[in-house]
Symmetry: C2
Amino acid sequence: MKKLNAHNRRWLTEEIIDLLKQQERIAFRLQFLELHSTDQRFVFLSLNEQERTLVYEYITPQEFAEIFQGLDNMEQGWAARELEEEYLAKVLDEMYSDDVADFLGSLSGERQASILAALEEQGSADVRELLSYPEETAGAVMTKEFISVRSDQTIQEVIERLRRETPNAETIYYIYVTDAAGHLVGVVSLRELITSSPEKTIEKVMGKKVISTSVTTDQEDAAHLISEYDLLAIPVLTHNDVLVGIITVDDVIDILEEEATEDVGELSASRGATDVNVTAVQAAKKRAPWIVLLMFLGLITANVIGQFEETLEAVALLSAFIPLIMDSAGNTGTQSLAVAVRSLATGSVERKGVIQLLKRELGIGILLGIISAIVLIGIIRIFYGNLILAVIVATSLFLTLSVAALIGAIFPLIINKLNIDPAVASGPFITTLNDIIGLLIYFTIATSLLQYL
Amino acid sequence: MKKLNAHNRRWLTEEIIDLLKQQERIAFRLQFLELHSTDQRFVFLSLNEQERTLVYEYITPQEFAEIFQGLDNMEQGWAARELEEEYLAKVLDEMYSDDVADFLGSLSGERQASILAALEEQGSADVRELLSYPEETAGAVMTKEFISVRSDQTIQEVIERLRRETPNAETIYYIYVTDAAGHLVGVVSLRELITSSPEKTIEKVMGKKVISTSVTTDQEDAAHLISEYDLLAIPVLTHNDVLVGIITVDDVIDILEEEATEDVGELSASRGATDVNVTAVQAAKKRAPWIVLLMFLGLITANVIGQFEETLEAVALLSAFIPLIMDSAGNTGTQSLAVAVRSLATGSVERKGVIQLLKRELGIGILLGIISAIVLIGIIRIFYGNLILAVIVATSLFLTLSVAALIGAIFPLIINKLNIDPAVASGPFITTLNDIIGLLIYFTIATSLLQYL
């Protein structure tokens, strides 16, 4: 058996590109179409424009659809510009409605309309429906290609129908049961169909308690339902319980990865800028506003320190501990933030309660404060031989860490409750806030004890 | 149709707990067993010890297995202590081998051995095999409950076999084809079986290029294969290509979520401490070493500043910009770190190349440095009316950001290459490193220009 890995994937690619260059149409088709669509995509993405033109000529729109549906929106954008209108329409007609809607959603309104007009009627209507739902809702990411049957059909009849219809459905492993008005009334898995006697009606074998979601539900919530209930797909209903689509598990993985990237972005003030598919200038454009904004916050901190210029002039050594206070406050706050962000993402806040989480984080902050203060008081006494300085730094650190842990946990929770864009709760903002509080505590204590220093 | 949501889930729970309290065994079973196992687990977790004892009495080990397999290791730990040995063994005999191995892996060696001895022979052997692979490898997380057939069997024969064996297999949607020695030679999906004529042999319909993974492969790499190829399961092979297990898509979701939590942990130096299921004292124990270690790094920074005490005594105002230099260096470095961490997680580094990523981040750092320097020079001139101070801070900022972006990106890549625990590349370490570099640059420039200040 041929095993694919990074090494022979590269080797395979070179061999296939050679065939393309030599314009060996038949040999190219033979080798290329034998690959899994994921590997076809890998080969396609390593071609230059001239070679890609040959690919469009050598393979049919139906065959190219397999590659196109796996590209990201930017890649789809340039590929679509290279294709003839008619070829592109045929490619899209071949794809599942959720993938078509995802691609069209990334285009300008004008281009979207012209492409939609070229699609087959049913497909076009399906895609228009998906595009009508707000972004990132279950309605916008669902697919229309599901199988629904009536409860009075026999298992035999349903299996016969699966034989005929299977190429059009995104999954045939769950079969949804609807009434005459399209309301979802049950679900039966292919596994159950296979193991039951063929003459039974669907009514007898279907499950009646169906885990479902609604068109307006956030895509992440729908994804968590699939993950929590270990499903392969989840049905999406209108507010009247009419079944209008499904979300499959492979889309859920994409949604969860997207969400993880967002979480990381929030912790690092690079939300929307962790995309590695853009150039340095584009990325800098996205990241610069954050850096400049945070720099202004840094100026506020500078101002806070400036207020204590007299204290600093008296004891310049005090400034040596500015980074220590800042870092410790920042680290403790970020830890609590990470806990709160993951608790929100995995739904454990909902299960355990907000007060519980906050009490815990405050407790942790106080404990960390005590530990750090004790360690520090020893070190400063030994290395700087200054007990008063040690007491000032250690007391400041204790107070700062207790507050920092609480702020780190409370901020994302408030933001989440108020439905504000959580980017404002991102790590660096909390860090800066904690810096300012920490330094205020430090210099206030230092100034009041200045006479003993 | 009854729809489940957070609200009526709570209501349902109360109703069922009431039945338990009234010791209404039959009514409780009727209502409780009708629930999805995920909801049963929800109810179970909201009971007190006395109520749980009634549950163990009212439902069979086979029924309880559905709940037990969904609990996390800590919950399984206390539930197992409440169960009689014999009941627990029956529960475990009912579960898939990967879930049993996961639970036993969390116990002490002694307790593990005593439970393993009580299990049925086949199950016990399977679990021992899984436990023999290193943690977090494909071999350790795979399940032994897969279906394999021979290529000369007919589709009809295989479907008949599925009818009989389906309760024991974790998925019947992929059927793996092996030769007499157990080597994997092909795969066929249930979907293909259903749509092909029953008299054909498996040989005729099976796919021969199977995406597979090896027992020693990291679980995350295996998970990414499933996600990249949109599979429902992936076969796990020994080094001789013998099929020994499969990993299913629901486990992949868990692996990816775990990994996302790890990424967040790395960015916030709370690796292994974002677990919300532990008490404040336990969490503080896990987080304190990080905070104290980072505090020592903060003392190094203090020492760096201490070296410039003379400069600071001359111009105390210089210390006001310490936080600005530190924060900007930290923020830029963390952004680059986030990009590198996500690029490693999604495999895009492999596709685009390391040099490409580093060149891009350096470019971004230089651009951000130029932008920040220009903005800052204007502000300091206006508010502090000091051109030399403005030039010192702006030049330092420009140099610091260029270096910080590069360090943020390069660190996780080196760590990844050297197979070192990536926790050492976590956000706060890079931030502290960037702090020190930034402050060295700042004070060196300031000291050399001190006469003009």
